[in-house]
């Protein structure tokens, strides 16, 4: 890195921000600590499981600038998208409401994506902190996804909604506390339009209490250090992030970098939806232009304003991942969005299932920035949230008639890099939700979670492989409405630098055997017990992603059904997509491939076919000589434009007997049936 361009000496800090370096650093961390405190408060005091378990929230502190705009100084992310959206939203909401109208103890609430929100289920709250002269000095904000905000579909993910009128309550910037007293009409509006007033009241109280806690922390800093020092340090914290990002952009060659990506469909029609971006880097600035993107879809997978903010996640991951996120990191970017396109749909457009588009934006931006900065390139992630919303009415003794809902999160995977395998069981860089405790879920909901694990072979091949596809198998004990938040079932994610593509998501209904057992080993189960639900399958019902066809013999023609009915006693299994590989798989150390095989991550077959590693299938030992010659042969056989095969399991046991033989062989026992 060119150290001199943006490096700040202690003298520079004093001159530019009016604070000494040590105090500035102290307060930079003080702001982060204030958000840590808010995070702990919200996590422990909220009610909806999507907040307390899922951690779908964010808590921030912003500086009020002299012109009334705001800059986000610090955030503690639960869900990382808030680290980007709240920078914009705070500005847009306070601009519309009028910062001058807000006094001590006033809180504004808003959930509207056209004011920088995400979808109606995410409530965003804003509280202004005034200095001793009554001037607005800081803002604390928080956001959380609440259990239900009305609309025809419980939980609010109405993929099939054709307009916002079918999604839930839309809240423009509205006062919810006035001098710390609840504004009754706003509370009633929320409580009377939700299916669960209990959760709503609890969550709103938690969100409000969190803002008060944040204000206490910020005031403690002001009391200790004085308002001018604290403001100067806030500007320093912002400037530091900005400098780091600009430094990284400067190290990236100037140029125009572009690519396009497809969402599977919008849940209403089967047409894929294109999002295109060109990133133009000039010096320490960059323009992110979404021109060329498809017009807004009918179904609710599109978004309002938020990609203006969320697009910056790509530069964040590739250029400066390890520094705490704040608004300064967003300063070098200007985002162009065509009105009426997927990335800036127009009212009354529906947007409740924006999530998969977010995951695709993260993948697309990471991919394009990787083009620009190959030393820090990251292969494609799974590009899907990898979760399922489940809800309905309980029928268990003593709980009859009780509505329930929850998120079953299996997680996706990240792509590999030049130095590391991609992580498995992880959401997109734009999200960061946590899976529920199974034993609590089974108390709270009429569900049995039979499995949460990875699928063998399903990770983009490479010297470094991508993270794995993960799956959940769950049984409904009462009729349940299932809304998968899934994508990446049609178009495989790519590898990088010779790495191979990742597998795609798919789903099936699963049957137990006569003993009531769900058979599964390494993620595989007998085909005779699977009924294809969505994804790519061949004519025999094998989930073949190379030679199969998407939608072939599947019950659904979308990865995004809304409120699919899973009847009591039925089981569903959903697989997320995996991450792309990095580098030539023939270069992955043979011992590492052996480790993968011995730990049931990779089959002997894939080890040979893609990695060129020869392993004895019964003793699971490495044949080094055979590996060397196999690798030589495979390398020689490659033609122009060679790409490793899409990595997913090719051999599925067809019958129970074949499955048993496979399992026994893995145990090292002699087999009765040749597999």
């Amino acid at each position: 890195m060119d150290k001199n361009q943006f490096f700040m000496t202690a003298e520079d800090v004093q001159a530019d921000y009016g604070v000494d370096l040590i105090t500035a650093e102290t307060l930079r961390n003080g702001f982060i600590e204030a958000t840590r405190h808010m995070h702990g408060t919200l996590l422990r005091s909220s009610f909806s499981n999507i907040i307390r378990d899922g951690m779908d929230f964010g808590v921030c502190v912003h500086l009020v600038n002299d012109d009334g705009t705001t800059d986000m100084v610090a955030i503690t992310e639960g869900c990382t998208q808030f680290a980007f959206t709240h920078q914009h939203m705070t500005n847009m909401v306070l601009d519309e409401y009028g910062l001058e109208n807000l006094g001590q103890g006033d809180t504004v609430i808003c959930n509207d994506e056209w004011r920088g929100g995400i979808h109606f289920g995410d409530l965003n709250l804003f509280r202004v902190i005034h200095d001793a002269d009554g001037k607005p000095a800081f803002v604390v904000s928080d956001a959380a996804h609440v259990f239900d905000i009305g609309g025809p579909v419980a939980g609010g993910f109405n993929t099939a909604a054709e307009s916002m009128y079918e999604e839930g309550l839309r809240i423009s910037p509205t006062l919810i506390t006035s001098r710390d007293k609840p504004v009754r009409s706003m509370f009633n509006l929320l409580l009377e339009n939700t299916r669960s007033p209990l959760h709503m009241l609890g969550d709103v109280r938690a969100l409000l209490g969190t803002l008060r806690a944040g204000e206490d922390r910020v005031r403690a800093l002001i009391d200790r250090y004085g308002i001018e020092t604290v403001k100067g340090s806030a500007r320093y914290a912002l400037g530091l992030s900005e400098r780091r990002m600009r430094q990284a952009l400067l190290n990236t060659p100037d140029g125009d970098y572009s690519d396009e990506i497809f969402l599977d469909d919008d849940g209403l029609s089967t047409d894929p939806l294109k999002i295109k971006v060109e990133v133009r880097i000039r010096g320490a600035e960059a323009e992110i232009d979404f021109s060329g993107t498809d017009p807004q879809s009918l179904g609710s997978v599109k978004t309002g304003w938020q990609e203006a903010a969320r697009a910056v996640v790509g530069p964040k991951v590739v250029l400066d991942p390890r520094h705490p996120m704040n608004g300064g990191a967003m300063r070098p970017f200007q985002v162009l969005m065509p009105p009426g396109s997927m990335v800036l749909s127009l009212p009354p457009a529906s947007q409740s299932n924006h999530v998969e588009q977010g995951a695709k934006i993260a993948r697309l931006m990471t991919r394009v920035m990787s083009q620009a900065f190959p030393e820090h390139a990251v292969a494609d992630d799974s590009g899907t949230s990898g979760c399922v919303i489940m809800g309905g009415v309980d029928s268990r003794p003593g709980l009859e008639g009780t509505p329930y809902g929850g998120v079953l999160l299996m997680g996706g995977a990240w792509g590999a890099t030049e130095t590391s395998d991609g992580i498995s069981f992880c959401q997109s860089s734009l999200f960061n939700c946590r899976s529920m405790i199974i034993e609590y879920s089974e108390k709270a909901m009429p569900v049995v979670i039979w499995e949460h694990g990875v699928l063998v072979d399903a990770a983009g091949a490479g010297e470094y492989r991508g993270g794995f596809a993960a799956s959940y198998t769950y049984e409904a004990l009462a009729d349940a409405f299932i809304t998968p938040i899934m994508d990446s079932s049609k178009f495989p994610a790519g590898g990088l630098a010779g790495g191979g593509p990742a597998s795609m998501s798919f789903a099936a209904l699963v049957r137990k055997d006569d003993r009531g057992q769900v058979h599964s080993f390494k993620g595989l189960l007998p085909l005779e017990r699977m009924t294809p639900l969505f994804g790519a399958y061949d004519d025999e019902g094998v989930p073949d992603q190379v030679d199969g066809t998407w939608g072939n013999g599947t019950l659904l023609q979308t990865s995004k059904p809304t409120a699919y009915v899973l009847k009591a006693g039925e089981l569903m299994r959903v697989f997320s997509a995996s991450g792309g590989g990095y580098g030539d798989p023939l270069k992955r150390p043979a011992e590492t491939v052996l480790y993968d095989v011995r730990n049931d991550f990779t089959t002997v077959a894939q080890a040979a076919e893609i990695y060129g590693v020869k392993i004895d299938p019964d003793r699971l030992t490495l044949d080094e000589a055979a590996t060397a010659s196999l690798r030589e042969r495979l390398a020689a056989e490659r033609g122009e434009g060679y790409e490793p095969a899409l990595a997913h399991p090719r051999e599925w046991p067809r019958t129970q007997a074949e499955f048993e033989a496979m399992r026994k062989r893995a145990l090292g026992a002699p087999t009765a049936v040749e597999v």
Partner: protein, 90 residues
Amino acid sequence: MGINDRMIFLTPGKDEMYVTKTPVEGRTCPECGSDDIARYPIGWVRGPRMVVKCQRCYHSLEVQRPAVEDNWPPFRAATYDWDASPAEGG
């Protein structure tokens, strides 16, 4: 302006969507000297803005709050220009 103009929109019918950059006459970039200057709507770190920008080196000559006729952002609250009532702190 009719109340619906920026609150309810028709679904666009085009195949692909673009952002139009309007050339600006008579201005030169103070950083690199180019006269290839354009004005267009952006998502900026502090929200929706119009930028006057050199298309060669990407120096921003001005970042402006949108005028009403810029129709940016597309959505605009019907009460955007109204005074706050006393109950809202006005």
